[in-house]
Symmetry: none
DNA sequence: CTGTAACCGAGACGGTACGTCCGGTCTTATA
DNA sequence: TATAAGACCGGACGTACCGTCTCGGTTACAG
């Protein structure tokens, strides 16, 4: 997706000096770096962003209406593509999805995006809405799709609420990554979660596993 | 615990006019009301708090070092006591715990506390640490205790990681309450989560349930 | 005249910390110095004044609505008192008045005030109006008074327009000080002007002088 | 004098599209109109001039280094030719010169030029220097020439400083036109000034007039 | 009962950032 | 090459809060 398309110049024929893409990149990179370095979005000011990127404030306001809109584009520039699913069996696809989530929880960039997007949820709902639409919703749709296929193929109980099933898988990972930032995300976590959730916690499972 | 003890006057013999407890309550109540009305902690300023409570700024700074410390006391004043557990069987105790979580997710006060505490996690880790220690940790300990008892009583597989088990139960509720604020928390949700998690998602459960 | 009276606090009873007179003086002194150093009023910004005086911008805006109003107070602080007139004869009084004008044209402070006040005449007429009322008008009234007394005492033709007479005396001095800043104001200039103007330019004056 | 000559194209052989003289006139006319309408030179910006004239900013900067240089050309375009002197007697010639000065003080164009040129004296001395050389100096030379001739022909005292005599004549007119913009310049003013200055202010003039 | 010390409200203080506007320079497409 | 348009960096605008400070006035304990 071209960034320019989302913040178009007002009208039709292009006249005058065009906006510099280099400047645009410098601004977005600057914000990215600052967030990555632990500066929260609330602490960021347009003034500081401009100073960091060596850019006039007007140059930023010409493109975005404020740091919130800018942050949305930063998220877009950072989030990786959807993971490729092997498609062999539901269990393995779920592991891939959760492993992808784990990786993003470990990466400082995507992690910082998530934390800051969520932190601004109350003060500027637009940010969280955009983050949700661009990042959360696609992965969620993917997960539901995998579960639906699993149900069709007999790998999943047919009487279970798919939304709830998805939350049971994603919840433990998010809880650790988002709400307990001191928690670790060890290597086998994705498999462990998927298998435990599929198996259930009842002790009577003699034949399974 | 007396609030006054946590923000003591500097030294020994009490001289001069004592601090007014009424003023103290007015300040905390004011902050509570503002947060409840959708004003985020980031948008709050000591200036505004003082105006709202009809109080001088110095009166606030005399007691707390800033709005973060003040917020911690607000949280303390708001959070209810731990729920009482029937203790009959693990499943019912878990339902009570999750139901308690659901209620707190529905209550505007406690919900606002959680959201704001988490939103400030990055910018002021002290807030989240205090919230965690005062609110999260006790409930978490309670949950782990219930699970441990269940394991001992044969209601829970012995080979499951208790931390993970707890996250599987709490995760879906928190995911909905915290990360998807548009999601509903319908009435039977606690039972539904507990039962589905205990049962697992595998289809082969002909005899169980 | 007390400066405080001209920029009063909004209402009646004095509450809160009173405004610092030291800060007030520092600001006015700072502007004075800058103008004296050749910085024109147009080049001055409130930002710069604040930086120079080591003062916050709000501290300036709390007292004055902008640099124009501030300048008016600077003028008030700089202009010296009216000269004392010997009152023996009209000719000597006129010399004293013109000598006073010459001195003020030579002094960098008063000279800078005049030039800047006049330069802003078009862009902010309030400045020139205030300067005129505070500085020009009193001296002019003084001059007219002296001339009127001279007319009464037979030292001045009775058929001459007093306004014009005053302009004839003051004009040459101002022309040199204001419109031809490279011109000198040599020591005997006041006497020379007064005597030449009184005497006239016609050659037939054999007996006089 | 061709205006183009004073702002030449950089070098030798003329290549590419030639500069439009219509554009040049439009710019100068625009500035003239703005000044005449009471907009001070300090309030003018190249940006605004360009907008008014419907011209790109670069088109202006290609010809002049800034609004100051442009203003000098505007002055050149506005100032009328020197007055023709009858040459019969000094007194009448002086009246013609002062009447010419009065007319220019009454005309909005020339008056605006003078005020703005003088207002910018401090901030951009080049403007006043140019104005002085182009407008003031020639008239002044003319006046001194007339006085010198009058001295030779016995119409003027030989012991008077010609520079001072000139200032005595011009001063009252300028004082009113420049420093007291509310003052009127009534019809017979030129004669009144000349006659009063020649005659002097002493009452003993029984035979004269 | 009187000092006196800490309290209280208000608001001034030096700063920082806000979002807007305009300065002069630079860079494009078009003529 | 000239032109009109407009992006570029920089900097001032006047406002809002920041956290500290300094007022006049209040309150409650100690002597």
């Amino acid at each position: 997706m071209s960034l320019a398309e989302s913040r178009p110049r007002p009208d039709g024929p292009v006249r005058g000096r065009p906006r510099s893409e280099a400047v645009e990149r410098a601004i977005i990179e600057g914000v990215m770096k600052l967030l990555e370095d632990g500066v929260s979005l609330a602490e960021l000011s347009v003034e500081r962003i401009a100073r960091t990127a060596g850019v006039g404030k007007a140059t930023i306001y010409r493109r975005w209406s404020g740091k919130e809109e800018l942050f949305i584009d930063v998220v877009r520039a950072v989030e990786p593509a959807d993971p490729e699913l092997p498609g062999v069996c539901m269990r393995d696809d779920l592991v891939v999805l959760l492993e992808n989530l784990r990786q993003r929880g470990l990466a400082s960039r995507t992690s910082a995006m998530l934390h800051n997007a969520h932190a601004q949820m109350k003060s500027s709902p637009r940010i969280w809405a955009a983050y949700h639409a661009n990042v959360v919703a696609p992965r969620r749709a993917l997960g539901l799709e995998v579960l639906r296929r699993g149900q069709r193929d007999g790998e999943l109980r047919t009487d279970v609420d798919l939304e709830l099933a998805n939350d049971m898988l994603v919840g433990p990972m998010l809880t650790r990554a988002v709400l307990r930032p001191d928690a670790e995300l060890p290597e086998g976590l994705a498999e462990q979660i998927v298998d435990t959730v599929l198996e259930g916690l009842r002790p009577v499972r003699s034949t399974a596993s």
